[in-house]
Amino acid sequence: MKDLSKKSLCTLVNGIKKKEFTSEEVTNSYISNSKNAKKLNTYITTNFDKALDQAKNFDKTRNFDGLLSGIPIAVKDLFCTKDIKTTAGSKMLNNFIPTYESTVTSNLWKEGAFLLGKLNCDEFAMGSSNETSFYGNVINPYGDKLIPGGSSGGSASALAASLTPATIGTDTGGSIRQPASFTGTVGLKPTYGRCSRWGIVAFASSLDQAGPMTQNVEDCALLLEAMSSYDPKDSTSVNIQVGNYNKNLNANIKGLKIGIPKEYRVENMPDEIDNLWKKGVEFLKDAGAIIKDITLPHTKYALPSYYIVAPAEASSNLARYDGVKYGHRSKGNNLTEMYENTRSEGFGEEVKRRILIGTYVLSSGYYDAYYIKAQKVRQLIKNDFDKAFKDIDAVLTPSTPSAAFKVGDKKDDPISMYLNDVFTVPVNLAGLPAISVPTGYDKNKLPLGLQIIGKAFDEQTILNLSLAIEKRADFKRKIPQWWK
């Protein structure tokens, strides 16, 4: 059997078209890799047999109308898939079979892709290490003791280990960009409203966005184009034409103005991260960009504000899990007891913690002091970006304050876990698009990424800048396949 699993998404699309190999051969490669990677614990549900049928069918009809014709794709188990179990990484949804398909996955299938399986993630996407999943920790291909980041940890790990040619995740506070950075892959959080949220298990609705996770920038542009759409079923979906991100991808970024925010130089940041950031600046200068120092003065308030807004929205979104219409149900002597036991047993520790924080900040007497205060600070953070973007085209920062850490290292200390998202959270609060592009390695040979933040709906510019960095960084994923 040909191993086609090291090829990029774009190479696979073109290769199938040019008859260099078939969709069935491609699909078999990924199924075989996936079956040999149980130690990584990336899949919650597999769809291998159906995927193979779909590949064979494709090879008979060879319909190339779509951008992803003949491509198998595994997706985060937060996207509802019709007639296929969707768990959100929770015991609460261990037996939930949606009767509908999320808009984003529908878009992928319309473009000719088909489902390989559903990937592990932190429970209800709440976590930065994929340690909160009911289905166990996901392991980073870069080391058998390492977390892959979270919450889209299964997606990142499966992608880096060549178990899927590309994947999609969701990002509420960094859940695409942080795991992408920890696995040496590309991850993009689109502008709020670019991708439909319909059919995605909700965490914090004013922050959640789906986005592509890929091997390289070119693939990212293609997948973003395929998954984005205006969707009347999501009232916050924005009716702006989806760009031809792939066709318009261009590493010529001469004259673009790039802001370097001094507030992202945080305390105790390892030198390696600082050096990587400087390297990124040099790459962009070399490509003809103009570098400008900027200030985003309210950056340090982003995380505290996020940890009010996100749990508040989560507590109200997760109120629906009551053991009546779907999901887990525990026994109780009366209705209230049934609710209380269901939610106590169905939710994991981190989810309960966030529901309780959310309930507290929304409760009578505290609403103004916490929730309204956080919404005001969110406005200040947005104003910072609005002001900065008057003079610049994009912002360059590190993606994370460290490389991937060990399983168990931060599990019992929520605050130190939350600090992982210090560079990614402001973007969600401001609704802006941002990408993490792998740029180098730390002293332990673990990958590190840089983040580029763009203006609202200007995904093209951050893709182009990423391409310019990618070409110069010459980052190679070097992963021995120890899990086989």
Partner: protein, 95 residues
């Protein structure tokens, strides 16, 4: 402000999550550290700031109220922990 045990019990009641005493103690510690962390916001004077309620500059749309009958009642009921004919079943509410 710290979250004492009574407050944890109160909010867990509001959130309909049952907790044993051991959990109440550990959560009181956990939640207090999170609240302490988010109270950093009190450093900022936000008196004149209007709270952000929507990140996108569009107003909510209306749509046509169309019947979209996919006849999925049986499938929906299949996801229910307990159902009877075409109803969801819950523990007895009225004596």
């Amino acid at each position: 402000m710290s979250i004492d045990k009574d407050t944890v019990k109160h909010i867990s009641k509001l959130a309909r999550i049952s907790l044993d005493d051991k959990k109440v103690i550990s959560l009181s510690k956990n939640l207090s550290s999170i609240i302490e962390f988010i109270e950093k916001l009190n450093e900022l004077n936000t008196e004149k700031i209007i709270p952000l309620t929507s990140i996108i500059n569009t107003s909510l749309r209306t749509r046509k109220d169309e019947v979209n009958n996919e006849k999925i009642r049986d499938k929906i009921l299949k996801n229910s922990p307990e159902s009877n004919e075409e109803f969801f079943v819950v523990p007895k509410v009225i004596e």
